[in-house]
């Protein structure tokens, strides 16, 4: 009996490099299952950032590349321009998307670049020890200081993005919800539209929480970062094309 691994998993790299209880493998597994469902493994690529996202460098059996902090999205756009038929996923954390990479992300959304951005939001800079990030909740203790005012990044991007892009937020305690939104995001990319899926994730190591506290904090995050679809082009679902 073998584990329930998706087809696009790289089995030789398991168990993964992520910490015990990390949310990243759950996101990547949902992505792998979505890629399997749409049978696009042969034309998918993954673009990684600095931070814990780079630990996905050998996670999936698709071409994966990694670049400077905050430049994941422009690199993914470059890849897409060179390979328009490929499906590119820019995999970033909340720091790489909403801090150092915010300018690139806003303009990618503004231009409507045909990429899918997956933002894994765990409210801290985890790789470097759990410092304050743009999405840290008020009074949340971090390595540097308590949180003050979080940024609702997906809502901000939806202001800049054209009306036909797909922007949604999911959470790691519902992997089926992640897959549902990733599916719609890929459909939007196939129609050359911009898509972003922010996924609320956990970091029990830096939060220093037991599983019960971890998931209680995730529920608290959902109040500041509501789940659901923020923006979408209904025509992409029905298949109508203008």
């Amino acid at each position: 009996m073998t584990p329930a691994f998706p087809k696009s998993y790289k089995i030789s790299s398991k168990p993964s490099l992520f910490c015990p209880g990390c949310g990243h493998p759950l996101v990547l597994t949902s992505l792998a299952e979505t890629i399997d469902q749409l049978k696009i493994q042969g034309k998918s690529a993954l673009s990684l950032d600095i931070g814990c996202s780079l630990l996905a460098w050998d996670f999936l059996d698709i071409p994966t590349f990694q670049t400077h902090h905050g430049r994941t999205i422009p690199t993914a756009i470059g890849f897409k321009i060179a390979r328009p038929a490929a499906m590119i996923f820019a995999y970033v954390g909340d720091g790489g998307a909403y801090a150092i990479g915010l300018q690139s992300l806003l303009y990618a959304a503004h231009r409507g670049d045909p990429i899918t951005v997956i933002v894994v939001n765990n409210t801290i800079y985890a790789m470097t020890g759990g410092q304050l990030s743009p999405t840290t909740l008020p009074q949340q203790p971090t390595d540097t200081m308590d949180g003050i005012s979080p940024l609702q990044g997906a809502e901000l991007v939806s202001r800049a993005a054209p009306a036909n892009s797909f922007i949604a937020r999911a959470s790691i305690d519902d992997p089926d919800g992640i897959k549902k939104y990733l599916l719609q995001a890929i459909h939007h990319q196939k129609k050359n539209r911009f898509s972003l899926v922010e996924i609320l994730s956990v970091c029990p190591i830096n939060w220093q929480t037991k599983p019960s506290e971890t998931f209680a904090f995730l529920e608290k995050m959902k109040k500041t970062f509501p789940l659901g679809i923020i923006n979408r082009d209904l025509r992409c679902e029905t298949g109508d094309e203008k």
Partner: protein, 251 residues
């Protein structure tokens, strides 16, 4: 007639470091000159604090560059006795080991390179003198480097050995713990588990508990165990495990 392999995974190790990394750089340049996609990386770790230096070189025949680090080396060059213990996890019974730790020849890295070159196919090895000149050119002692390399090419076979005293590698990847009844089967793979406790927390009927027999990947932390009578077969443990260390199949 030497059999040309598709891939050569070479590990060079010794103390000091610069000589070791120079061999790595020369092999990288050689691979590029011969048209074989090659990659090389030093090990980044405690080497600067007096540890043993490692250089990983990977030569591939087909046209795709691969990540230079590997699990098991095809060839191992050892320049000092301490290096042998350091690299034991990169060896298996097929690794060819060239142990020069007792050699009095100097420069030692050139002798090792020469001995290795006698194993590599001619289409690669013929570029090594060019690569030596490119990497070490202009530095004093160039002639000594080249002549020592030529000497290494002609060393006898007695300096190779295959290691018969490797620690037994226990392959845990076959481990699976099964619990089943007429409705469902529940599998736990302890070699994937990291004892995070997410499955225990998420189970709606608290059917999972920590085992007192089975360890996770950490040898002081338990893996979970299921009480199949309480288990409902909902599969939430499978969905919430970050490593897919649980599998639930309904019959």
């Amino acid at each position: 007639m030497k059999n040309i392999k598709q891939e050569y995974k070479i590990l060079i190790t010794g103390e000091g470091g610069q000589g070791i990394q120079t061999v790595g750089k020369i092999l990288l340049r050689t691979g590029i000159l011969s048209g074989w996609p090659t990659s090389y990386i030093p090990n980044f770790g405690v080497e600067q604090r007096g540890g043993v230096s490692l250089a990983f070189v990977r030569l591939k025949k087909n046209n795709s560059i691969d990540y230079p680090k590997f699990l098991t080396a095809d060839y191992l060059l050892i320049a000092c006795a301490r290096a042998r213990r350091r690299v034991i996890k990169y060896l298996d019974h097929q690794t060819k080991i060239f142990n020069f730790s007792r050699s009095q020849e100097r420069p030692l890295n050139m002798i090792m390179l020469g001995r290795l070159a006698a194993e590599l196919p001619e289409e690669i090895a013929k570029y090594i003198p060019n690569a030596i000149q490119l990497i070490l050119g202009g530095k004093p002692g160039m002639v000594t480097n080249l002549t020592t390399y030529q000497k290494g090419l002609n060393f006898k076979n007695s300096s190779i050995f295959y290691d018969r005293h490797l620690p037994i590698k226990i392959d845990r990847r076959q481990e699976v713990n099964r619990a089943a009844d007429k409705n469902k089967e529940h599998y736990i793979f302890p070699w994937l588990c990291k004892s995070c406790g997410t499955c225990l927390y998420r189970c709606p009927v608290k059917a999972l508990h920590w085992s007192n027999k089975v360890y996770s990947i950490f040898n002081n932390q338990p893996a979970p165990e299921v009480d199949i009578k309480k288990c409902q077969g909902c599969g939430l443990c499978q969905k919430s495990c970050p490593e897919r260390a649980i599998r639930v199949i309904l019959s």
